[in-house]
């Protein structure tokens, strides 16, 4: 993997503390949020984060597990994928 950025998406019912919850996990393991955007689409909270994990203290699969735990606590759905997936699919 050349770049070390991942795309995290969070979808779920809107409530207090979703951003804080996810950001907390990322901060705890030194993953840097490069960009964040958030909208409410048809009552659903949708957040997209671009996160640099080159200095992250845990590896990607561990981080994914941690985010999964976080998703369960917040009752939202979190996906995390390497940025290349989106590069390959949407850019020539």
């Amino acid at each position: 993997m050349k770049s070390n950025r991942i795309v995290i998406t969070v979808v779920g019912k809107d409530k207090v503390g979703i951003i804080a919850g996810v950001a907390n996990v990322l901060a705890k393991y030194n993953a840097n949020i490069v960009d964040i955007s958030q909208t409410i689409m048809q009552e659903f909270f949708t957040m997209i984060m671009i996160v640099d994990i080159s200095k992250c203290t845990v590896d990607f699969s561990t981080l994914k597990q941690l985010l999964d735990q976080c998703a369960q606590e917040l009752q939202v759905k979190i996906t995390a994928q390497h940025e290349d997936v989106f590069h390959y699919m949407h850019r020539i």
Partner: protein, 455 residues
Amino acid sequence: MPVTFGADEILETIRMIEAEHLDIRTITLGISLNDCSGSDAETIIKKIYNKIIKYGENLVPVAEEIERDYGIPIINKRVSVTPLSLIAALRDEEEYVKCAHAMDRAAKEIGVDFIGGFSALVHKGFTKQDRLLVNAIPAALSETERVCSSVNVASTKAGINMDAVYVMGQKIKETARRTAHKESIGCTKLVVFCNAPEDNPFMAGAFHGVGEPEAAVNVGVSGPGVVLKAIKQHSDADLGTIAEIIKKTAFKVTRMGELVGRAASERLKVPFGIVDLSLAPTPAVGDSVASILEAMGLERCGGPGTTAALAMLNDAVKKGGAMASSYVGGLSGAFIPVSEDAGMVEAVEAGSLSLEKLEAMTSVCSVGLDMIALPGDISAETIAAVIADEAAIGMINNKTTAVRVIPVEGKKAGDRVEFGGLLGSAVIMDYKKFDASGFVVRGGRIPAPIQALNN
């Protein structure tokens, strides 16, 4: 670095994976067995086993790592090897069966669900080894779990070896009998080819061709669900627009194959072979090629208009896919494996899809008569005649065609059989009960066709 994607693009990708069954159907590691010859069976079999383990042991861990990193499901991890009859100078059928057992053990050891290459290329004639291997197929497929076999009986350049066609009709029947207790499932692992590709990643027909390198990573993508969704969103578009939509979607789907193939190649330190641009369905609802044709406006797959719709779909998938990948190969076309496609099974049940219509459909798309369950009382001669028809389509049109039919012992037309997993379930299809044995038993070779006067 600025953010380079829109939210809609990101969400589109996620929706494709989560809701529309976008996945990598298979990463298939081709391994050459050229250096596995020896003076006795024990040496040869040991060499083959060791080589598969040596090259293949990292395949599953690497594929799982890629799956985690990119968040794209990789459904199957598989291995294909050099057609066994070319390298293993074994002395009798029993030794070939032993070799199949060794391949099966190696596949289990490295955790792949199928291993292809129990194969022979006999389009012009049998060598001694080819004959032994082909005779060993029914035993090999009934005694092993993961070994897949393919036999190339025809090519555009050589014509159709009708002796081989007849033999394969008999071997399919024998395999069905030997696995009668499990719905004749042995036949799901046996493909008879015309113009077999050397770099096909899809089972059961995968083998590592003679022109291939020491090892290569080949990738097969899937995405009927994604194409279906895209078409459904444009219910009143004309067919040119639909073709455009399919092209764009196929491009995106294939890019995932390219990404995964390159990552696997890098991590396995094995050259990247090809991406197979096939639209491979699964029994999951909504992941069906038949449903795509129906979304284009057909009442049922198999009815009038089906061949035209499929031709357009197949061509658009190739056009979009070819742009997305640097190396395209394998079968590359829409698959129509009946039992593996819920929409096809429904079409058979509704009476719209027949063996004859499927044959017509295979003249405009890849693969051929695939995963078709037939009554158990069908004769070897009739199966051979079906193979000959299919091989003729491939030979004349300079394309790959194949036959993978399952004459299910003890079942009759209309009965249902369950093969399980990705192999799906099927309704036994009827066939025309006119005898072709007089034609088939003549044997000999149908000469290669003239290619210049092509009407």
